[in-house]
Symmetry: C2
Subunit: 194 residues, 2 copies
């Protein structure tokens, strides 16, 4: 059921997968969420609905699959020269992306998925970005917290507010979370090991 592993990648299946993903992205831009229907997607992709039902099971899983792909970052986080700067830049762009109408929809559609692997994968994308930023800090010789500290102090609050009350967040929140993440808590001094 997971599209990560396309069986028979060498032709029709892959072609259809691309067509369907493309159709979903187009229709997500054109239609309000409640008008997104599986037969409509099938028609746009030039495929019969039963193909989609057989491959993805239902609309929710299809959207989760496509949106997870859309959330995959196309470029590594911006390099601003400092750990704090990198985190600040990352959090701002991440917030912009997920606070938007389509972003909110993506986030919710992915998290609504029944597939635990898919959800974990989504978190791993965030973690990988944090790793990249920490790796750079390390190379510069900056003291840097553990990756889980960044997940708990920056990513988690950010996602929490994006999900429950996106409007309540502003730049000052992001700055505070970044600051508190890099200066680590009293429970542990800043760590340098990657």
């Amino acid at each position: 059921m997971n599209q990560m592993t396309t069986p028979r990648p060498g032709g029709r299946s892959a072609r259809i997968q691309r067509a369907v993903h493309h159709a979903v992205r187009e229709l997500e831009r054109e239609l309000p969420r409640e008008a997104l229907t599986l037969p409509r997607i099938a028609e746009r992709a030039g495929v019969t609905p039963s193909t989609l039902y057989r491959r993805w099971g239902n609309l929710a899983e299809l959207l989760a699959d496509v949106n997870l792909e859309s959330m995959r970052p196309d470029k590594p986080p911006a390099d601003t020269g400092t750990l704090t700067g990198d985190l600040q830049a990352w959090s701002e762009q991440y917030y912009e992306e997920l606070a938007s109408r389509p972003g909110q929809r993506m986030l919710r559609d992915v998290l609504a998925s029944d597939d635990a692997d898919r959800r974990r994968c989504c978190s791993d994308l965030n973690r990988a970005q944090m790793q990249t930023i920490l790796q750079r800090a390390h190379e510069r010789g900056e003291a840097a917290p553990a990756v889980e500290t960044l997940m708990e102090r920056l990513v988690a609050p950010l996602i929490y507010y994006l999900l429950y009350d996106a409007e309540a967040v502003d730049r000052s929140h992001l700055e505070r979370w970044v600051e508190e993440a890099v200066s680590r808590g009293p429970a542990g001094r800043p760590e340098t090991r990657r």
Copy 2:
């Protein structure tokens, strides 16, 4: 669309709402999620499906409404005598509740809702629990952090992991989050004001 404000609370509407909520809770225990269908709920509640479509719009919003009610705590958090103890107890029971199969479903169904007020309400339930615990700490004369600190350092990481990777959490995580939440970060000393 929101059930918080039942129009004509004085009779049939309220009766039907109760019957429907009850039917959903029963069927959630009896059936796997994908078998939960709106006509089935209507039948169990002794109501015609069109009533449900007209009042709630679709299955997702109905489930979100019912599950939000289910998440409303029936009793205040346990009083263990200390702030740390209260937070530890609360986080353990909250984790137990939401890491379970039905808990995971509740959480996702509520957060999948389109209704921003409903989602915010869900967060406010958590915040109110934290407030209660802080209020007690204050009465005992304990130093205590601001409520938002608890939200960011304890509630947010907890929810984040429950959503993305519930199996990755164990008691030691909870203990750490509690500890780091009460000892506040370097960015601000423990606060006493409520």
